[in-house]
């Protein structure tokens, strides 16, 4: 079965659902209320009848049948009176305000089990025959409940009450229910029309905007109204996501530009060298030199490619098999020892400050490589820049973290550039002249991310301070 097109909108479906729910609730409530009210009214009726019967019984005791008849006649005449009837033992009506009643009622004794039909004097005044149960029910002649009492002289006394009141009540409630349901239907439609359609319009505008963005306009944003409702929150989040995507996109573009620059330049040089060697002198030594330069150039290229590959692998994720419990102090000592002669050669004082062993779960090779990249950078940039160039490597333990802090007193990195400095291939303009793949810090950052740690750049005033931050042993799972 297919729903009509209008039901395909969430708003219409929700409206219909709510209508159904509220309608069902209203019907249940009304049924409950009516049944309770009817029961209360019935109980009240019984009470009244019993009271009357007691009064009449007292009259009979005092004055016998004559007095009873008198009292009954008197009461029967009052407006809105109860039903009174006195009959002889054969069921012939002697007195009271009941003209005829359903046969069989007078044979009973005590409470009538179910409502019975009757006719009152003056109702149609034409002295119709007593109605059969069928006609009574069909024409809804009056119905009543009553108490039938046998008097000591075998006369029959009936005190009853008309049941028209609960019937009327039920009709009123029924009408109210139908009215309420009708109003609810109208309400649902109004809600759908105004609220639902408004929501729909906003969703439509969001889909239209996303379609535009998908079409290639990444700078487009979803509309945000001033209401600050859930649609605005959705749009806000989607907009934030778009901003992130375009930032990533921008980053990717930057990377490709940088790859183009950093790989194309040496490739071009390589080609030129080979070409000029081919075209130039046939001097064997010159040829050899050109070839050696070409090999050195391609080695540098391979190194760059290896670094790119490694970063991608590291970014792909952590693997517990490749890590071990290692002592960072040992690695720092190793790397410091490895770089000490180079530092000395360049006039840089390389110092380490290690309090004691610090064990973390990590990959020794990767950590050593990251650290050597950072130290390499530090030595490279502070050599010749400071009057007394110095690089220090410190191992610190703080709350839940173990950090290796490498500080130099070189030119540092301006605060605005620090974040960019760890991006792939980013070589700040000032450093483009320095040799290197430009991937040192990126690789270090990838290594730290791999270890669920992070790499932080800060001002050493003067110089750059790089912190390799590991989660403390135990903190890393």
């Amino acid at each position: 079965m297919r729903l009509p097109a209008i039901m395909k909108t969430t708003a219409a479906r929700l409206s219909a659902l709510y209508l159904l729910l509220f309608g069902a609730c209203a019907v249940l409530l009304v049924i409950y209320m009516t049944s309770i009210s009817v029961r209360i009214i019935a109980a009240q009726n019984q009470e009244t009848i019993q009271e009357e019967a007691r009064n009449l019984a007292r009259a009979y005791e005092r004055g016998g049948i004559p007095r009873l008849v008198r009292v009954v006649e008197q009461r029967a005449r009052q407006p809105g009176a109860n039903l009174y009837l006195i009959a002889d033992p054969n069921g012939r009506i002697l007195s009271g305000n009941v003209e005829s009643l359903q046969p069989g009622v007078l044979e009973l004794e005590g409470w009538t089990q179910r409502p019975f039909a009757y006719e009152r004097y003056g109702d149609n005044g034409l002295g119709q025959r007593a109605p059969t149960p069928e006609t009574a029910r069909g024409r809804l002649a009056h119905t009543a409940m009553a108490l039938v009492i046998r008097l000591p002289n075998r006369m029959i006394l009936l005190v009853g009450r008309d049941l028209g009141e609960p019937e009327r009540f039920r009709r009123v409630v029924q009408r109210a229910l139908i009215l309420a349901l009708a109003f609810m239907g109208i309400g649902a439609f109004v809600i759908w029309f105004f609220v639902g359609r408004a929501a729909l319009r906003r969703i439509d505008s969001i889909s239209a905007a996303s379609q535009r963005i998908m079409g290639g306009d990444l700078s487009g944003r979803l509309p945000v109204s001033a209401a600050g409702d859930e649609f605005d929150r959705l749009s806000d989040n989607l907009n934030a996501m778009l901003t992130r995507i375009s930032a990533l996109n921008e980053g990717l573009k930057q990377v490709s530009d940088n790859i183009a620059h950093d790989l194309k330049t040496p490739l071009t040089r390589l080609r030129q060298r080979a070409e000029s060697a081919l075209a130039g002198s046939k001097d064997k030594a010159a040829l050899r030199e050109a070839l050696e330069a070409a090999i050195a150039e391609s080695d540098q290229l391979i190194r760059t490619f290896n670094a790119i590959l490694m970063i991608s692998r590291l970014e792909a994720g952590y693997s517990a098999e490749s890590t071990d419990r290692i002592d960072l102090a040992g690695i720092i000592a190793d790397v410091a020892e490895l770089y000490e002669p180079v530092a000395e050669e360049r006039g840089v004082a390389l110092k380490t400050r290690i309090a004691g062993p610090q064990t973390v779960t990590a990959n020794r090779e990767l950590v050593a490589q990251a650290l050597s990249n950072v130290v390499d950078n530090a030595i490279k940039y502070c050599a010749g820049h400071a009057t007394a160039p110095a690089v220090s490597i410190a191992l610190e333990k703080t709350e839940g973290e173990v950090r290796i802090v490498i500080a130099d007193n070189g030119p540092g990195i301006p605060a605005g550039d620090r974040k960019r400095a760890t991006e792939r291939f980013v070589r700040l303009e000032a450093s483009r002249s320095q040799p290197g793949s430009g991937l040192g810090l990126s690789l270090a950052r990838a290594v730290m991310t791999f270890h669920r740690g992070r790499l932080e750049l800060a001002d050493a005033d003067p110089g750059l301070k790089v912190a390799m931050i590991f989660p403390a042993a135990g903190a890393a799972s």
Partner: protein, 224 residues
Amino acid sequence: MKILLIEDDREAADYLERALNEAGHTTHVAGDGETGFTLADGGDYDVLIVDRMLPRRDGLSVVAGLRARGQRMPVLILSALGEVDDRVTGLKAGGDDYLTKPFALSELLARIEVLNRRAGAGDVETVYRAGDLELDRLSHTVRRAGREIALQPREFRLLEYLMRHAGQVVTRTMLLENVWDYHFDPQTNVIDVHVSRLRGKIEKGFDKPLLHTVRGAGYMLKAG
């Protein structure tokens, strides 16, 4: 020496075969893992060079299979993979050395020389000698022409490695791997500076150079 090269890349295999033959070796080439395994198991090779990714049978499985059959010849594994743990898995499978593609030919030649020598040298000498230079591994002393030379622990290990492979080319990465036990590629010429410092200590005041730089390859310790 007699070398078996198991490499499926025809061009690379031809190039390596020619280069190895030029270096004075006898080289056989197998184009896939299964053929390579059969040849290696049957032939009497001094060194095996095995590419990791091979048709019909994976390089590591070839090595593991040979080791399971009791073949002890040194194996150099070549790989284009750059995973963090590749070296470890390669060596676990029974390889003796591991080289990542692309590599310099001089690196490969230096490594197979060392592998071959290592296989041959059964007993370990306690004193290495090269010309008038003497290194005592037990007392941790170095003497040249009878005069004692004071070395830092790392310099001692560097010299020890160079002397153990005296007369052979030792590359910078081999030094970093064997003396420092790191396998990454340092950006700067850190090894060169260590070597030149060592050179200063063992050659200063003496006429004859001992520690030679081999252009485009590495270093060689040689007397005379």
